[in-house]
């Protein structure tokens, strides 16, 4: 309970820096990294958004996150040791830096195409 209260009020504004794309964005209290990224129109890959498909996984380089689900169902031991996290289930505690393997290559097929989404 206490952890929940403190988790909601991080000492500094939660923010994410994303390698190698150089994206920087702030994350509102209660928001996940993925929600904040999608709200800014960034082509962050995702499918289920409930922490079960691991499409949105990224590697934590710096800082700490609060994980909302038990990632041991979806990430391998090697990935856990390398500090992989699920963007859709992670709320940053303060500033964090993550590495994302690739941006979404294709947008939803029924959405207008966006050149920014084509970068890898």
């Amino acid at each position: 309970m206490l952890g929940k209260l403190f988790g909601r009020r991080p000492p500094e504004q939660a923010a994410v820096g994303v390698e190698p794309f150089g994206w920087e964005f702030e994350v509102e209290p209660g928001q996940t990294i993925l929600q904040a990224a999608l709200a800014r129109g960034l082509p962050w890959p995702s499918r289920c958004r409930v922490g079960s498909c691991a499409t949105c996984r990224c590697r934590l380089l710096e800082g700490d996150v609060k994980a909302l689900t038990d990632t041991s169902y979806v990430l391998s031991r090697e990935q856990l040791e390398q500090r992989y996290i699920l963007a859709c289930q992670s709320q940053p505690r303060g500033r964090v830096r993550v590495h994302l393997e690739r941006a979404r290559a294709t947008l939803r097929a029924d959405a207008p195409s966006d050149p920014a989404a084509e970068q890898r």
């Binding site: 499918r47 079960s52 909302l68 038990d70």
Partner: protein
Amino acid sequence: MGKYLKFAGVYGFALATALGIALGGAWMWLGAAVIYGVMIVGDELLGDDYSEPDYRFRRLLDSMLYLALPVLGTLCLVMAWMAGTGDLLGVGAWVQANLGHDMFAARDASGAIHWVGAIIGAGLTFAAVGTNIGHELTHRTTDAGAMFVGRWLLALTLDAEFSIEHVYGHHRRLATGADPATARRGESFYTFLLRSIAGQTRSASALERGRLQTLGHGTWSWHNRYLRGWLMSGAIVAAFAYAAGPAGAAIFLLTAAAGRTVLEAVNYFEHYGLVRDPDEPVEPRHSWNSNKGLSNAVFFNLARHSHHHAQGDARFWQLRSYREAPTLPFGYLTSMLLVYVLPGWYRNRMTPLLLDWDRRYASPAERQLAEQANLASGMRDLQLATQGG
């Protein structure tokens, strides 16, 4: 206050069910009659509710979920008492002295035909209160208290493994051929029922084995949540057998099966015939949504299913109406009855809705998947529409 109190409605149904069973004889049908009657008529008369109110008192909303445990405990006690022979925990004497009702006579007046009604009503209550609230709670995977209560609620329908398969299986594979809990085009409810139950238990077991491997635990260990779930259900069976003998255990198992059937009916119509390209995200279009006011009040907004799947971690009170999403033609209990009694009629009723889905909602990749599904459906209207187009 109404926006809070409406979620307590399901406990009225639980009360009617427990009361009817305690009254014995034909009254044992009370729960089933009240639930089907009120829900079917009420959804028709009251219609849709698109409101999306803000809720300040979230503790109150959560407490309405946790009320499930004492309420279902009471229902189980009444069932075990009526199924047994003695005076379990002195309940009969207490009721006689304080309420003036003779439960011993009520028990003697109850035959098999009355127990059928009791099992249907209690099965609906196990599902509406147990499975549904267990579903809401076990989505809160980092809240140990919610997981504990949620898994016990699910164990009442022999389905604690739902807490594994639903979150890490169904939500990931939704509307693809790999999801056992998505009904295929043309698939009858009864075929789906067996395929879904077998597929879900296989999937839950495999997911749990994978997790244990990742964490370096053995399959046969106390860490195994799949096996622990079955032990929980086994404990409930044993408690019924201890309290009310083999008849008590049998009545519990039949009620659990009835409750599980309700869950599978809901699984069936929530995604019937919908398809998704596995490489694309889950969107509101991959569920049949309903804004029927009564269904949503009684099922804690479960019928707002499009939003639930698009954002599985949203609390029930946050679920929005998504009125533009594909919409079920009926409320939840109406759909359930049709799926049970007129399964072929229901599929035909859904055919034009599926064809409309293909035209208006499907992505180009999904349109191809839909064509394959139409051709494989064995349903003439779906096949003709595909070949004609």
